[in-house]
Symmetry: C2
DNA sequence: GTCTATATGAAGATAGAC
DNA sequence: GTCTATCTTCATATAGAC
């Protein structure tokens, strides 16, 4: 069996408890509690779940361990709170780009750049790493993250594809799979290489180049039969 | 600081030590050692690095802890050996498909299917998970895996793209990025969702569908201007 | 709520016999 | 090389004073 499992805080109880949403204001937090959450995020994301000790978190938060245990049931509980606090970092906002009235190329470039920059950032790399490694022990956590970040992002882009296809500006068959694969292509190998610490942080120019490449390929692949007005050269 | 670091077996010493290659025959292993490695792989990949205890490994290998320590310097050492043993699972063989004389579509379908099935398998998921989470503490391990699996796979496909482009059968600009993004698109979101335990193992039919979708998109995007003989409808 | 001090247990590593 | 038994360290969690 895996490690011990005294207080499996996420077994079933909080299944539906997704991440806090942008507008959600929770009851004001005590300063100590805020300090704890801040410190815990820092330590967990730096050292991983097992590597993080409650003592280190208490030290960094400048509180005693007992205080820490008065705010959270235990390590599992604290960990879940931290990951949920951070999971919406994987959310990429599609609507605002749609609302800006961008055409497909400009929208995909904007969304792609935002997405890839975010995914390659130190913060999200850390969340990704710890999430992937601990997901098996925290079944509800994966769903919470999926519903707070990647899920809505993909759905948003798929909706856009469906809309553009209806307008005849794109020709996307399965919009959900297409959105999935577009995001996948963006990550390409660079995200993995950085995950396993082979590459350092990618230069902005490389990120831009890869986004452009992926967008070009996507548009070329999903060009409608008869483009409405003009033909693009880059395809 | 991260955990303790008494014997950082991979700090620098074995940087160049890549995974064993298919043909490599090492000095014959004692049965005990083989049992240890088998058990260690099972326990590490199931429970993660921190979750795996030397005692559990010894128990599963049916040896004493002391025996275990007579074969390996410590937990870090054993872990590195196991991951290196398993890392070439991420290698996807391109050459054999090339040698089979397949056309671009058939080759991409074959390679893509092999790749995605492998990446979605329980074994590779486990390797991926533990690798990603422990890479920061084992700097040399990431490079070893990259050089044993993903690196050669990507290079092989990129070479193929270059060759086909030279022949006028494909039109691929940056072959390395294209190969990267093709593999990325194959993984799409399903790999991630399985990583965070939201989805169960994908059905073979879904895997096939996603491979076909990615291949169609890739070919449509990289069709040469004037196809040599016939035009494909699926694009 | 918050602290200091401590109980408890788990796991990495080793001593010494065979 | 292999075992049994043990040492040591350290992290989670709590008791009890303020």
């Amino acid at each position: 069996m895996a490690i011990k499992a005294k207080k499996q805080a996420f077994a079933a109880p909080v299944e539906a408890l997704a991440c806090a949403h942008p507008g959600t204001i929770l009851p004001p937090m005590s300063p100590k509690r805020a300090a704890i959450e801040k410190a815990a995020a820092s330590v967990f994301l730096r050292d991983g779940f097992a590597g993080a000790s409650m003592e280190a978190i208490a030290r960094e938060a400048k509180v005693s361990k007992a205080t820490l245990y008065s705010h959270f049931q235990g390590k599992d509980d604290l960990f879940g709170a931290i990951v949920r606090n951070n999971c919406q970092q994987m959310l990429v906002d599609i609507e605002s780009s749609v609302a800006a009235g961008l055409g497909p190329r400009e929208l995909l470039l904007a969304v792609g750049l935002k997405f890839l920059k975010k995914m390659m950032s130190d913060e999200v790399m850390a969340v990704y790493r710890i999430l992937v490694s601990e997901a098996p022990r925290f079944p509800a956590l994966g769903r919470a993250v999926q519903n707070a970040g990647p899920g809505p992002s993909c759905n948003g882009l798929a909706d856009y594809f469906r809309h553009q296809t209806a307008l005849g500006l794109l020709a996307v068959g399965d919009a959900d799979v297409a959105a999935d694969q577009f995001f996948g292509a963006l990550l390409g190998g660079i995200h993995f290489r950085r995950l396993i610490c082979v590459d350092a942080q990618a230069k902005p120019s490389e990120i831009k180049f890869r986004v452009a490449t992926a967008v070009d390929a996507f548009l070329a692949a999903h060009q409608p039969k008869a483009p409405p007005t003009k033909r693009r050269k880059g395809a």
